[in-house]
């Protein structure tokens, strides 16, 4: 397994896995959209 696959795939600083961080990030973004801080995200 190459180094880039190994490095930092799990953010363990607060004892949280990469999975949990991804969920927290997604929910934070969803909250920003809900409260109107992110109004229109283009594609």
């Amino acid at each position: 397994m190459s180094d880039e696959n190994k490095v930092a795939v799990s953010a363990t600083r607060l004892g949280l896995s990469l999975d949990v961080w991804s969920v927290i990030t997604a929910f934070a973004l969803a909250l920003l959209v809900r409260i109107g801080a992110l109004k229109h995200v283009p594609w």
């Binding site: 190459s2 880039e4 991804s22 969920v23 997604a26 594609w43």
Partner: protein
Amino acid sequence: MATSIALPSQEAQNPFAAVIRYIPGVLLLAAIGFAGKVLEQSINGYAKAHHLVIPNIEYVLWAIAIGLVIGNALTIPKVFLPGISTHEFWLKAGIVLLGARFVVADVLKLGGISIALVVLEISGSLVLMTFLGRLFNLKPKLTSLLAVGSAVCGVSAIIAAKGAIDADDEDSSFAIAAILALGAIALVAFPVVGHALHLSDNAYGMWSGLAVDNTAEATAAGTLFSDAAGKVAVLAKTTRNATIGFVVLGYALYWAGRGQAVKVKNKGAFLWNKFPKFVLGFLAISLLVSVHVFNKEQIGSLANLSRWAFLLTFAGVGLRTNFREMGKQGARPFIVGALGEILIAALTLGLVVAANTIWRL
């Protein structure tokens, strides 16, 4: 992914430095992904302006192709590596946000069909890969890793199983290389077969979610066919991912029973530890959308955020696919993997066609 590496102590004291080190690689992912998007739009715009009929090459393929060229032709400076490794993170965040495009009724319908098909797919894949591993005289634990990787969810499952069954680093590298190489082939082959068979978006998406092993490649293979197919591919793949704990637990118990792995003391904790939490996030967002927490425009924004997250993932898929590294692993695991994957693709295609006939996917 289950791998974790302790951050250097200097960074442990300075969270800001830990974040900073990811920025160059994330910017590289964004630049490659965005270049893919611009290329698709530019080529389509040129073709339209000059009345040319050329096949539409999706941004997904451009992003992967640019990543492949950079990753294989150049030596990527170390400063980019931490950020490039975040492509798994963006994939999972993107899947959670993709929940906005499913109301619970969709999840229940397609998810219910997915569960039935996933059970059949996993059973068939485990039996098939175990048989092929024995036939080609592969090491038993390498066979277990290949079986888990092809049955459940590629690299993540292999890494989770490696720790649980106490497999060698070499075996896991073999299995990961085989799964990644086959995923790269699936990216090209699946859309071609799907179009040739005139599969519907739902049927094709279900097929790629069931048959392509790594989540990033399954998402890309689905999106290459169509946006709608990509959505269904993620749902089917997420259903597969949810079973990772059960399959890995089964192998852990098997190898512990033979005295070749550490005994599992608390099965409940083991299952929770291995369970991919982003599946719960996906379901939670889908539930929030179903009870109208978000309006239509906000749902559109969440769906677009999901697309941006996937864009970074696709760039990462290209960058981390290193053909030289794969070539070093030898041919036998690859041959076993390839044979197994072809048979699994045929099996799952048959399952999807049957399900489509019964339930009209």
